[in-house]
Structure formats: structure tokens, C-alpha cells
């Protein structure tokens, strides 16, 4: 019984982990390659979910909703990059924080104006409503599908970065953007594409998380901050680091919330455990991050570049 519970929670952790990876992958590239602090990444996640919910309301098709969520975020990401963000690459991080903080306020209010203050819901697609049988444990198909899609995207991102010309240019741009520009590559377009790609992944994460969570203004911020923890643990600018760190954080967070209060009850009195358990569980990932930083400030899996 406990083993099956543990296994289920492990899968839940994995599911949270892949969602975090989708967010972290785009963000870590923008951080690492353009050295740009993007606090508005959570807003793209939120808007992806809203776009999908609207498209679903019109078409009743989850596929089209997914397309609207991801496509909308690509367009929005591209526009944001061209209109505002590209002007800030050469400025210091404080300007990045300021501008993207303003964007967060703006987008949170914008969705309240456009969609109203009440939360939206996106239903699980019909063919994923059931459960799947994994080694004798039944697990919701939809959550399992998230894990599969997340792993596929991770694999795709790896191929993109290491096997394609675009990935090669992105990696080259990370090392020396001026030189890549001098060799005749449109570095501006490359940056915009990279940003739009990150936005697409954030939108995808938003759409996939929407049936599990409620869609509301400000939903991007908690997940953004966890994503930042993932990036710090993984090492800024490293996609594979983001992948491993996302899984570590997702599993640690889920298992901590599920089992830490119970474990504490074994060693401490009920009152202490009830008070400290949830606090410790919600602090766990931050403690993990502080420990990683204290030992390895560059992160566990730093990007391999000079």
C-alpha cells in the first residue's frame, strides 16, 4: 500500500518535474545566452492557458486549444522580444527586472480585464479521461500523458541543440554573439526565434497544466519562482541541467509535501509535526537550492562553455 502510494507520488513528482522543465528550458536559454532576466515568463505560461481556454470555448477541441495556446505564445513572445526586450539586452539586469516586472503587473491585470476575475477551467480531453495501468497501479491517463509529452520535448530539445544547424548557431551565439553576427548570421532574428521558442514551451506548459489547475490571473508567479529555483540548481544556461534539476525539484517537492509531515510525526510530537511539517515541506526546494549554492555556486550541471 505504501509502496503504491510512494510510486504514485513519484509519478506526480515526475509530472511536476516535466512541467517545470518546459518552463525552465526556455528561461534558462534566455538567461544563459542573452543574459536576460525574464520575470514575465510566468505570464506567458498564464496566457498560454487562457488562450487555450478561449479556443476551447469556441471550438470544443483540445487539439485546437493546444494549438491556440502554443501559437498565441509564439506570436506574443516574438512581438515582446522585438518591441521591448531586444532593446534591453545591452542594459544591466536591474532594467530587465524592472521592465519584466512591469509586464507581469500589466498581463495580470490584462487577463482580468479581458477574461474577468473568475477562474477558468479547461477539461481533460476525452481520450485521456481514464486511467492507465502502470505495474499494477492505476494512474490518471492525462497526468501520464504530460510526463510522456514532457520527456518527448526534452528529447526534441536535446536533438535541436546538438544535431541541427539552428542549435549549433544558438550554442555559438552563447559563446560569442558578435562573432556569429560577423559571420553573416542574423543574430537579432536568432534571438527573437529563441525567445519565441521559450515562449512556445511556456505556453505548452500552461495548456498542459490548465486541466489540473484553475486558470486565473497571477497563476504564473508561483511556478515562475519554482522555475527559477530549478535554473539555479541546474546551472544557468544549461538545458540538460534544467532537465535534471526540474526532475529533482519536482520529485523532492511532491514527496516532501506528501510524506514529510507523516515522517516528522514519527520522531516528534504531533503538535510539533503538524506545525513544522507543512512549513518544512514548502521550504524544501529552497533549502535544497541554498545547499547547492553553498557547495556549488555555478549549479549542479553548469553549461559546458568557457
Amino acid at each position: 500500500m505504501t509502496m503504491s502510494l510512494l510510486f504514485t507520488q513519484l509519478l506526480n513528482g515526475l509530472q511536476l518535474g516535466v512541467l517545470l522543465f518546459l518552463l525552465a528550458a526556455g528561461l534558462t536559454l534566455v538567461f544563459g545566452i542573452m543574459s536576460f532576466v525574464n520575470l514575465a515568463h510566468g505570464s506567458l505560461y498564464m496566457l498560454g492557458a487562457y488562450f487555450a481556454a478561449s479556443a476551447y470555448a469556441y471550438t470544443e477541441s483540445f487539439g485546437l486549444a493546444l494549438l491556440a495556446g502554443v501559437g498565441g505564445c509564439v506570436v506574443l513572445g516574438f512581438l515582446l522580444e522585438r518591441l521591448a526586450i531586444s532593446r534591453l539586452y545591452r542594459r544591466d539586469h536591474l532594467d530587465h527586472v524592472l521592465t519584466t516586472f512591469g509586464m507581469v503587473l500589466f498581463f495580470n491585470e490584462l487577463v482580468r480585464i479581458v477574461w474577468g476575475p473568475q477562474p477558468y477551467f479547461l477539461p481533460v480531453p476525452a481520450f485521456l479521461e481514464n486511467t492507465v495501468d502502470l505495474l499494477g497501479i492505476s494512474y490518471p491517463s492525462y497526468r501520464f500523458a504530460i510526463i510522456v509529452v514532457g520527456l518527448l520535448v526534452a528529447f526534441g530539445a536535446h536533438l535541436l541543440m546538438h544535431k541541427t544547424r539552428l542549435g549549433m548557431l544558438i550554442r555559438a551565439g552563447a559563446v560569442n554573439p558578435a562573432m556569429v553576427g560577423a559571420l553573416g548570421v542574423d543574430i537579432k532574428l536568432l534571438n527573437a526565434l529563441l525567445f519565441a521558442l521559450g515562449a512556445a514551451l511556456a505556453g505548452l506548459a500552461g495548456v498542459m497544466a490548465a486541466p489540473i489547475l484553475s486558470i486565473q490571473s497571477g497563476m504564473g508567479e508561483p511556478v515562475l519562482i519554482t522555475t527559477l529555483v530549478v535554473i539555479v540548481i541546474g546551472g544557468i544556461g544549461s538545458i540538460s541541467g534544467a532537465f535534471y534539476a526540474a526532475l529533482i525539484v519536482g520529485v523532492a517537492d511532491t514527496l516532501g509535501r506528501a510524506f514529510l509531515p507523516t515522517l516528522l510525526r514519527e520522531v516528534a510530537s504531533r503538535e510539533v509535526a503538524n506545525a513544522a511539517g507543512p512549513a518544512l515541506a514548502s521550504m524544501l526546494v529552497y533549502v535544497l537550492m541554498a545547499l547547492v549554492l553553498a557547495v556549488r555556486p555555478q549549479g549542479l550541471f553548469p553549461a559546458g562553455r568557457s
Partner: protein, 340 residues
């Protein structure tokens, strides 16, 4: 120092302080106690922003987690008050010690990184504190807690709007004076030098990280004291004081007022909270307008109000603030050379 007295930003600040000193009487005569609380809030945020300016403006440490200390200050009133302790000195002791220790520990860990890493780590620490206080169910958890017994100093009750107003005003003047002194004191010079080029500061035999850590801790404690005043003013402490939105607001105030300047945080807090109040009257969706305004400030550059005022007077308007802003741009994104 005498030459700075005649700068426009200084004159405007003195004018603002003089007006602030008249507010209690005016609010009393007009029978509008709201304005007393409103301007007290502005002064408290000005103190908090000045505290952050010490780390951010002088030290170049972009902390996105200073709301943590504001919140700790608030809870160092709320938690003793919950247990029936209303001695203000104990509240203050509690605030200074906790903020100092938390600032020292988080600062020491955060300063192992620079640039983006530093921003994210301070943010994460603040979030950690937020979750700790959310899970303290006996002190109200998510909903926060009403402060039954506000801080008492020598029989004066900070829970009275008039008392907390005058305390905030006096403290604000002291803080501004201290910030003006500190800016040109050896400590401030080293700090500002470390912002521009930590490697050179290390090379002349001063460990820049130590100075930055000291600035961070001082800034944390002062921010905590502002939080104490805020809790007394509102009679309420809640984890929402610690959200990263508040940390962001503090940064916006500083940039709006003029980063690294002495009077910028006060002018910025005044402009920020004033604008917020005006926009709230005009539209329900004031946050959207406000957000756009912040984006524009970020994209268009950041001389700040203090810089603008000084620029109006001098013949080369952009030169003074540009000099201040440009080195920050270089250093914040540069890694610190660990070896001297």
C-alpha cells in the same frame, strides 16, 4: 557637503519634508485621518526603499527579496504581541536580531553568486520566508494576524496614527542624513567602488564581498525597522507583505526616484504611492496602466526623478545621472573576480 545643499533634488526633498511635517495638522483640521495614514505609509516605504538603496544603489546588489525583511519586521511586532508582549524595545530587539541574522545568513549564501544568480537567490529566500509564515497557522497563516498590542516606547503607543507618523518622519530624516553621510564615508566609497569594479577593490587589499555583506545586513535591519512601523500603522501583519511583488515595488520606487541617490528613494516612494492612489481613483484597472508605465521607465532609461531634477538645473542634463547609471550597467553583469 555644502555644495549639495543647493541641488534641486535636495531643495525638493526639503520641501517635501516640510510639507510632510504639516500633514498631521492639515489632516486634523480637514478631519481627514486617511491622509495621515497615507503619508505615514509613504514615509515608511521611503525608509524601506532607502534601506534597499544602500544595497542596490550603492552596492549594486540587485536584491529582489527585500520584502522578506519588511515582513520579518512586521512579524517581530505581531508575534510578541500575540503572546501579550507590547514592549516596543523588545519588538525592536527582536526585529534587529532576526533581520540581522537572517540577512547575514542569506547574504553570505547569496553573495557567492553575482548577476542573475544573485537576483534569483534573494527572490527564492524571500519566497522561503513567505512560506514559513504562511504555514505558521497559530499566527493566522495565510490570512495574517491582527496586532492586539502595538509597540509601546516610554508610554508612547506606536499604534496611534499620530505617534507612528512622527516617529516615521524623524526616522526618515535620520535615515536620509545617514545615507548622505554614508555615501561619501569610507565605507560607502568602498561599497560604490565595489559596484563599479570589485576586482580593483580586491586588488587594493579590501575584500569587496565583506563590504557588500555588511551593506546587505545593514539594509536588511533597516528594512525590518520599516516593517515594524508598517505593522504598527496598519495593526496587521500578514505574509502578503513578503510577496515578491512588494520587493519589486521597492525596486520600482528606487529606480523611479533615482538609483544610488540619497533622496531618490523618498521621491520615488512618494511618486509611486501617489500615482497608485490617483490611478485607483481614475480606473479600476489601474494596475494595467501602472504596469505599462513601469515597462516604459525600464525601456526608456533611468535617470529617475532626482536625476531629472538635477538635470533641469545643469546645462548638460544627462551627464550626471548617466555617469551614475553607466558603471552599474558594467559591473552588475560582470562576474566578481574572487582572487585579489
Amino acid at each position: 557637503m555644502s555644495h549639495t545643499v543647493f541641488k534641486p533634488a535636495t531643495l525638493v526633498t526639503l520641501l517635501v519634508l516640510a510639507v510632510l511635517a504639516c500633514v498631521p495638522l492639515a489632516a486634523h483640521l480637514a478631519d481627514q485621518p486617511f491622509y495621515l495614514a497615507f503619508f505615514a505609509r509613504i514615509m515608511i516605504y521611503a525608509i524601506a526603499a532607502s534601506a534597499l538603496n544602500l544595497a542596490l544603489g550603492y552596492g549594486g546588489l540587485v536584491s529582489l527579496g527585500h520584502a522578506l525583511f519588511l515582513g520579518i519586521g512586521a512579524y517581530s511586532v505581531a508575534i510578541p504581541a500575540f503572546h501579550g508582549i507590547d514592549n516596543g524595545w523588545l519588538h525592536l530587539l527582536c526585529c534587529v536580531v532576526v533581520c540581522g541574522v537572517v540577512g547575514l545568513v542569506t547574504g553570505a549564501v547569496s553573495l557567492r553568486t553575482t548577476g542573475i544568480g544573485f537576483i534569483m537567490i534573494t527572490l527564492a529566500f524571500a519566497q522561503m520566508g513567505y512560506f514559513v509564515f504562511v504555514s505558521l497557522k497559530q499566527y493566522g497563516g495565510d490570512d495574517g494576524t491582527t496586532i492586539a498590542a502595538t509597540s509601546k516606547f516610554f508610554g508612547a503607543d506606536l499604534g496611534q496614527a499620530g505617534t507612528v507618523y512622527w516617529v516615521a518622519l524623524v526616522l526618515l530624516v535620520l535615515v536620509l542624513w545617514w545615507m548622505a553621510r554614508l555615501r561619501v564615508a569610507p565605507f560607502g566609497m568602498v561599497l560604490r567602488g565595489a559596484r563599479q569594479n570589485p576586482r580593483r577593490i580586491n586588488a587594493i587589499g579590501l575584500r569587496s564581498v565583506r563590504y557588500q555583506l555588511a551593506a546587505y545586513v545593514l539594509s536588511a535591519v533597516l528594512c525590518g525597522v520599516a516593517g515594524m512601523l508598517l505593522a504598527n500603522l496598519t495593526g496587521f501583519a500578514s505574509p502578503s507583505t513578503m510577496t515578491w511583488m512588494i520587493s519589486g515595488d521597492l525596486i520600482v520606487m528606487i529606480v523611479l526616484g533615482g538609483i544610488g541617490t540619497v533622496f531618490g528613494p523618498l521621491l520615488g516612494a512618494l511618486a509611486f504611492l501617489g500615482l497608485e492612489e490617483v490611478l485607483k481613483m481614475v480606473t479600476e484597472y489601474w494596475m494595467a496602466v501602472f504596469g505599462l508605465a513601469i515597462v516604459l521607465i525600464g525601456v526608456l532609461g533611468k535617470a529617475g526623478i532626482a536625476g531629472l531634477l538635477d538635470g533641469l538645473a545643469s546645462r548638460r542634463p544627462a551627464s550626471a545621472p548617466a555617469k551614475r547609471a553607466a558603471p552599474a550597467a558594467v559591473t552588475i553583469s560582470k562576474p566578481v573576480g574572487e582572487q585579489a
